[in-house]
């Protein structure tokens, strides 16, 4: 059973999204995703200033096993990337909900409602 925090929203492609008090949205990958990937050894981060539509490719996570694309769960502009993952990509394994990947300024915060809540994500991954 993986950890699925109730306050987060999830994409079917296994990213999590958290709405912050300042209206920005923080994005990472779920505990289930890091578990399936195995040891993460490299993260190709996106760039600050990039503008994404929902489900646009927004970086790559490479584990010992395979390379997996990360997708932006919502539309918006990237305002920060987690540089710490450059030197310590394994943080995605040890602390998947603390090790965020990028922060986005949403075009339309209502898009968050289209993502899965914790219960729906739990069902989607068959737990």
């Amino acid at each position: 059973m993986s950890d699925i925090p109730a306050e987060l929203r999830f994409a079917e492609s296994h990213e999590w999204a958290r709405l912050e008090a300042d209206g920005t949205v923080t994005v990472g990958i779920s505990d289930h995703a890091q578990e399936a990937l195995g040891d993460v050894v490299f993260v190709e981060l996106t760039e600050v200033g990039k503008v994404f539509a929902a489900q646009d490719q927004a970086g790559v996570v490479e584990s010992v096993k395979a390379a997996s694309d990360i997708y932006s769960p919502i539309s918006g502009e990237v305002i920060a990337i987690n540089e710490e993952l450059g030197g310590s990509p394994e943080l995605l394994n040890s602390d998947p909900y603390g090790a965020w990947i990028f922060k986005i300024k949403p075009t339309d915060a209502a898009e968050l409602d289209k993502l899965l809540d914790a219960a729906a994500y739990k069902a989607a991954i068959g737990e």
Binding site: G38, D39, V41, F42, E44, V60, E62, V64, K65, A66, A67, G86, E90, N93
Partner: protein, 360 residues
């Protein structure tokens, strides 16, 4: 559902993530593949390799038949207890499989890959002809590999006195029978260690003893990164039916002498040599961040293109390494295409780590 080794239930109990490997349900890792890798390099770990194919060859013409079947020469096994690495080739010089051959008292034991079992048995049966030889597949045996600098020392403390003495005196590439166990000093990690064949019924108890003594179970994931670092080829990936040992960094495993020994594939190898071998297997080291993967294209300026056959992150070197088949001319540097971008790589001898030491 795939085939299961006698240790299947234990793998689940130890929290293994199971995957299909050549039709077998095998442990990929028990938590962290990278940690398991380090454990083998600095101490030791135990692998369930019961999926591998074990065939004993007996009969008055066993030696003559193997001298016909294999590119290496079993005549080099001067006495029981010795072992050698060999390939078995098709008429075109392509590799049907690679194996270790152990000389027993009254037989030869061949240990092959798991995924090639059916093609190997079909090929071998086809080559029997009029030879007075019998093949016995030993499915009743389990096989454990205990690998790492501390492997022999730690195992010696967990077995009977006679087995401990045997383990102490074993030289590399030797293997002997003790009761219903067969203990060999061979492996697939680039470290010292043992491979032990024992009755399937005894395997769970012994595996449990090892884990209880603090020896970590190691999955197929670490087995792969360890063997890539050691520069050991994997059948189906680096070597296959369409490439010869000459193009696979394995020319050393071909016994050309005596010239009268007409092993299968010899004529094709001689023709390939005479024409000039077109490709070789090299090592690549990615200096930048990223991960080299199988089938990525390798470009060598003014020479031509090649392809990665095995690529991985190297836990020991903390960077990505690969085995690649490139034009014989090659160069010191090359480029690899990763997701549409070209990354510079160093071209090195394909042995990155041996006995815990970095060689590049």
């Amino acid at each position: 559902m795939g085939q299961r080794t006698p240790l299947y239930d234990l793998h689940l109990a130890l929290g293994a993530k199971m995957v299909d490997f050549g039709g077998w349900d095998m442990p990929l890792h028990y938590g962290s593949q990278v940690e398991e890798h380090h454990e083998v390099r600095r101490d030791c770990g135990v692998f369930d390799v019961s999926h591998m194919t074990v065939i004993d060859v007996t009969g008055p013409q066993a030696k003559a038949w193997l001298q016909h079947l294999l590119a290496n020469d079993v005549d080099r096994l001067h006495r029981p207890g010795r072992a050698l690495y060999s390939t078995m080739l098709n008429e075109r010089g392509g590799i049907v499989d690679d194996m270790i051959v152990y000389r027993l008292d009254d037989a030869y034991r061949l240990v092959f890959n798991a995924s090639t079992r059916d093609q190997d048995l079909a090929w071998m049966t086809e080559q029997l002809g009029a030879y007075d030889v019998q093949l016995h597949e030993r499915t009743e045996l389990a096989m454990l590999a205990i690998q790492g600098p501390q492997a022999r020392h730690k195992i010696a403390e967990l077995v009977t006195q006679s087995r401990a003495t045997l383990i102490q005196h074993l030289k590399p590439f030797e293997g002997y029978t003790d009761g219903d166990w067969f203990i060999a000093r061979t492996g697939y990690t680039g470290e010292d260690g043992l491979e032990i064949c024992l009755p399937a019924s005894q395997a769970p108890g012994f595996f449990n003893d090892l884990v209880g003594a603090g020896i970590s179970p190691i999955g197929l994931g670490a087995r792969d990164t360890l063997r890539v670092e050691a520069g050991m080829n994997l059948y189906g990936q680096d070597i296959h039916q369409e490439v010869s040992p000459l193009a696979s960094n394995m020319a050393w495993s071909i016994a050309w002498e005596p010239a009268t020994r007409q092993f299968i594939g010899r004529a094709a190898l001689e023709a390939e040599k005479a024409a000039g071998v077109a490709h070789k297997l090299v090592g690549l080291v990615l200096e930048e961040r990223g991960v080299l993967r199988a089938h990525q294209v390798v470009r060598i300026a003014d020479v031509g293109e090649g392809e990665i056959t095995s690529g991985s992150f190297s836990p020991t070197l903390s960077k990505s390494i690969a085995l690649a088949r490139v034009p014989m001319a090659t160069a010191d540097r090359a480029e690899v295409e990763i997701r549409g971008k070209w990354y510079p790589v160093r071209v090195v001898k394909p042995t990155f780590v041996r006995h815990g030491k970095t060689l590049i």
